[in-house]
């Protein structure tokens, strides 16, 4: 049972990292960034390529994370920035970006999954009757570090303060003279870094393929909805909850339908609180 819970926490950390990236972008721009899956994919491939080219893993991971940041900012500069006043256009743009990113990966690397080797592949951590592969431990450690760093940035720095403000009331932030363009780019930059971390941590457990992030992204969206669109802490809490729920469902009921349990949780929450846990209202997309 503990093993299942621990695995659930691992899954939850992954969800949290991806969901926080999504919710940051949503808070600042009100855009559901479906293209985030493509960012994760390209970051994973970048890490894989760097590793295959002979770079030590730590360096390859940095390459991957940097790639995630770069691609994410690129999506903002090239596409999302131009629809800031037209949120109904977001799904089309998001899908367009996702198609471009996923299929670029497809063109460059082919469609079969590739496995990524890491130095901690063979490591097995055991404590209290529970065993965790080194890979999963690395993910949890990375996730905790990244989210702590983000928390510090958001609460202690000027930029972070501005970002929180923009998420709460974009107009009021603009009236104070806060440069909005910079905030948008910053949100995408951080989301991209997180995507890179998710890719680096996630790829070794599953396989690197153009479609590797689809299910995770969907679950991450459930997390964002559950936690409240725009709420970082909601995303973290929601991620862990969803991870545990899916983990439990997968272990005790049916592993094939793992994400279905996430769906059940989503349905439950939306039925009881149509605006998500935090109660924000969903805005019109079309």
């Amino acid at each position: 049972m503990i093993q299942v819970l621990v695995n659930g926490v691992f899954l939850g950390c992954l969800f949290a990292v991806v969901a926080v990236g999504l919710t940051l972008v949503y808070g600042v721009m009100e855009v559901p960034n479906f293209a985030h899956a493509g960012v994760i994919v390209l970051a994973a491939y970048a890490t894989w390529s760097a590793s295959a080219a002979g770079l030590p893993f730590a360096l390859a991971a940095l390459v991957g994370i940097a790639c995630g940041a770069a691609v994410s900012v690129l999506t903002e500069v090239v596409a999302y920035r131009w629809i800031i006043d037209n949120p109904a256009a977001a799904p089309a743009v998001a899908l367009g970006l996702m198609l471009i990113l996923q299929n670029t990966a497809l063109r460059l690397f082919g469609g079969e999954g590739r496995s990524m080797d890491t130095p901690y592949d063979q490591v097995l951590v055991e404590f209290g009757g529970v065993s965790l592969s080194g890979v999963k431990v690395a993910l949890v450690v990375l996730a905790v570090l990244a989210l702590t760093a983000l928390h510090l940035i958001l609460s202690r720095t000027s930029l972070g303060r501005a970002m929180r403000a923009v998420a709460q009331d974009r107009g009021a932030a603009a009236m104070l003279g806060i440069p909005m363009r910079r905030q948008y780019t910053l949100a995408f930059l951080i989301a991209g870094l997180l995507a890179g971390i998710a890719a680096v941590a996630y790829a070794p457990t599953f396989q690197v393929s153009p479609y590797m992030a689809d299910e995770v992204l969907l679950s991450a969206f459930v997390v964002v909805v559950v936690g409240g669109l725009g709420s970082v802490w909601g995303a973290v809490a929601g991620g862990l909850v969803l991870g545990v729920v899916e983990g439990l469902g997968s272990a005790y009921l049916s592993s094939a339908y793992q994400s279905a349990f996430g769906f059940l949780l989503l349905v439950l929450i939306l039925v009881l609180k149509p605006g998500g846990l935090r109660g924000a209202t969903g805005r019109r997309v079309a």
Partner: protein
């Protein structure tokens, strides 16, 4: 009267064109024709809830696949084609009713994500309930009607579907849907039974999608889960928007563009998708009301210039 004539006339014309395309084109082009026709029927249904009502339903591929799978399963069990088709469509409409009920109090982004997740779960069912669905590799579909009859049904459904959409659009139901799209709270205040209207719209859209799925299964002969993913739902959503959500002929334009590009551009794996992606972004930025909206705006500009000159 003229509005009705032109709408019904184009619907009939499109039926004829569909028939000609399906019977005339072979091979790859024939496959494209089938998909365009099937998508037109399905998207017409989506046009009711999304186009008129403004609700971003991402469940459409699930209803589509549901119709295909259910009719295939029932046919195999020995039911006649007509019964299988009617039961499948009715059953999927019931599913649509339940989905609408569950998400009845959600709006906007939440509705989109919720319905998208429903499609993902439907995909899981299609993939894992191998006993019925044949698993990830799909299953064959017995032929219910003759191929010729199926072609006629497809062609007729195009026109009939568009005609039904037109009738909905000009009816009080259509007005109410548009009111909801404009400002749902206000509509509620003004006495529009929004819950009922939305429910009906989703059920209607599910019916269209299921019927399209039934016909698709028939003509294609084989169905697989990969044809009914949440990405498909997303593509349908964007295709309709590309055409110009809410307009009568948007399904046709959207289907032509999306299917045409994905199937015909064989420049290598994935390239057509990249082009499609670029197109989505370009059209969104340049023609926010879809291609049909863009054309309307252009003709208005041209007419204005002519008036001045």
């Amino acid at each position: 009267m003229r509005k009705h004539a032109s709408a019904l006339g184009s619907s009939a014309l499109l039926s004829v064109l569909a028939y000609l395309a399906l019977t005339g084109l072979q091979g790859d082009q024939g496959q494209v024709a089938l998909l365009v026709v099937v998508w037109t029927i399905a998207l017409t249904g989506l046009n009711v809830i999304l186009g008129l009502g403004g609700y971003p339903s991402m469940a459409h591929a699930a209803f589509f696949g549901g119709g295909a799978y259910l009719s295939a399963i029932l046919l195999e069990k020995g039911l006649s084609m007509t019964v299988a088709a009617v039961v499948s469509v009715a059953a999927i409409m019931l599913v649509g009713f339940l989905v609408a009920l569950v998400f009845s109090r959600t709006r906007g982004q939440y509705f989109a994500i919720g319905t998208m997740f429903f499609t993902a779960v439907a995909f899981l069912v299609f993939t894992n309930a191998a006993e019925f669905t044949g698993g990830p590799t799909g299953r064959p579909v017995d032929l219910g009607y003759s191929l010729d009859a199926t072609v006629v049904l497809l062609a007729v459904s195009v026109g009939a579907g568009l005609a039904v959409f037109h009738l909905i659009s000009v009816s009080r139901f259509g007005d109410r849907l548009r009111a909801i799209r404009e400002d749902e709270d206000l509509a509620q205040h003004l006495g529009v039974p929004t819950a009922r209207v939305k429910l009906l719209a989703v059920v209607v859209s599910a019916g269209f999608a299921a019927w399209a799925g039934v016909l698709f299964g028939q003509y294609n002969g084989v169905i697989a889960p990969s044809q009914f993913t949440f990405v498909q739902s997303f593509l349908m959503f964007v295709a309709l928007g590309l055409g110009g959500a809410g307009r009568l002929l948007a399904p046709v334009v959207g289907a032509l563009v999306v299917i045409g590009l994905t199937q015909l551009l064989n420049l290598g794996p994935g390239v057509s998708q990249i082009v499609l992606g670029v197109l989505f972004i370009a059209v969104t930025l340049l023609a926010p009301n879809g291609i049909l909206g863009g054309i309307t705006a252009l003709t208005r500009k041209v007419r204005r210039k002519e008036a001045v000159a």
